[in-house]
Amino acid sequence: MREWLGPLYDQYGGYFQSHELQVTNRIMLESNWHLGVNSFTEGYNTLYLHRNAARDYQGGKTNPEWHRPYLELVGRHHRFSAPGNPDHQILPVEAIAIQYGRKQLPAFDFDSSMLPPGVNPSRFDKWGFDNVSLFPNFVMLNGNHWHAEMWFWPLDERRTMIVNRAYTYKPKNLGERLSQAYFRSRGRDVLREDLNTLEAQQAMLSSGALPEIVLSRQETCLKHHYRVMEAMLRQN
């Protein structure tokens, strides 16, 4: 495990133990597993894709294009940070959820003081959450007071089983549980918007109409994912 994770191995002490499982979702998708992983391998899509479910959870006036503040390639893996929005408009029921619990997506508390060094590794002051991809098929979203773990299991070249586990801080009363229910619903809506593009992507790519796709600098981690895969295939 130490060899596989490299420098990530000992950067998360106590973080996962501070959370408990809220729900596990299993989703069968008519899409190649790479596309599922790739939908969480860059962050600029969020500005466009989540306009309905979480229209202002990232970026803000000083970062209108929602640029990633931190990105790191770690051996076969990678991670990047998503910028929270200090100008995020708290909605009426969201305010109630915050009053009786802790901020989770789409609001962030910008407090990294209790986090281990692997979470918000650059200590970005307007930090929202991290996206950590462990090659080949595991993605974590790590926030303050919550995290999500996603496995993308290939069933064949065009079908994937996704297992998504949502974790949050351990609630100390029923009010905190109700607060968590609000944020869980918001997070599910965001995830559904992510999943919604994948089967269409599969259909388009399978058509062969586009022989190549040029990736941008925003998609550095995507390049890394495929570079690692090709190197392993060549090695074998």
């Binding site: 729900v23 309905n52 479910a53 009363n173 109700l178 229910a181 619903s185 559904r192 992510d194 919604n196």
Partner: protein, 93 residues
């Protein structure tokens, strides 16, 4: 709308017409602080609640579930053109 599982609540929200969701929201909203304060006096275990309390707790959970379409001003109970909630399995493990 006091449904006992997260799956039932999630499906109910997306299948309910926005006017009904708004009526539900408007009915519960003035009492939600009282409801939460009441539950904060009880043991921290929804499964230990007596049936009438559990029904109220599930109603409060549904209020949280149904909030986004109202607060975000959607014209439906769900986002148009998104991945169907019905294709989500909700597992205990």
């Amino acid at each position: 709308m006091a449904l006992p599982t997260e799956r039932e609540r999630a499906v109910k929200r997306v299948e309910t017409e926005i006017g009904r969701l708004r009526s539900f929201h408007d009915a519960v909203r003035p009492r939600i602080h009282d409801i939460i304060r009441y539950f904060n006096q009880l043991p921290n275990d929804p499964y230990a609640l007596a049936p009438p309390q559990r029904a109220l707790y599930d109603l409060a959970e549904m209020f949280m579930e149904a909030a986004a379409p109202i607060d975000l001003g959607w014209s439906l109970g769900d986002i148009e053109d998104t991945f169907p909630t019905a294709r989500f399995e909700f597992l205990k493990i």
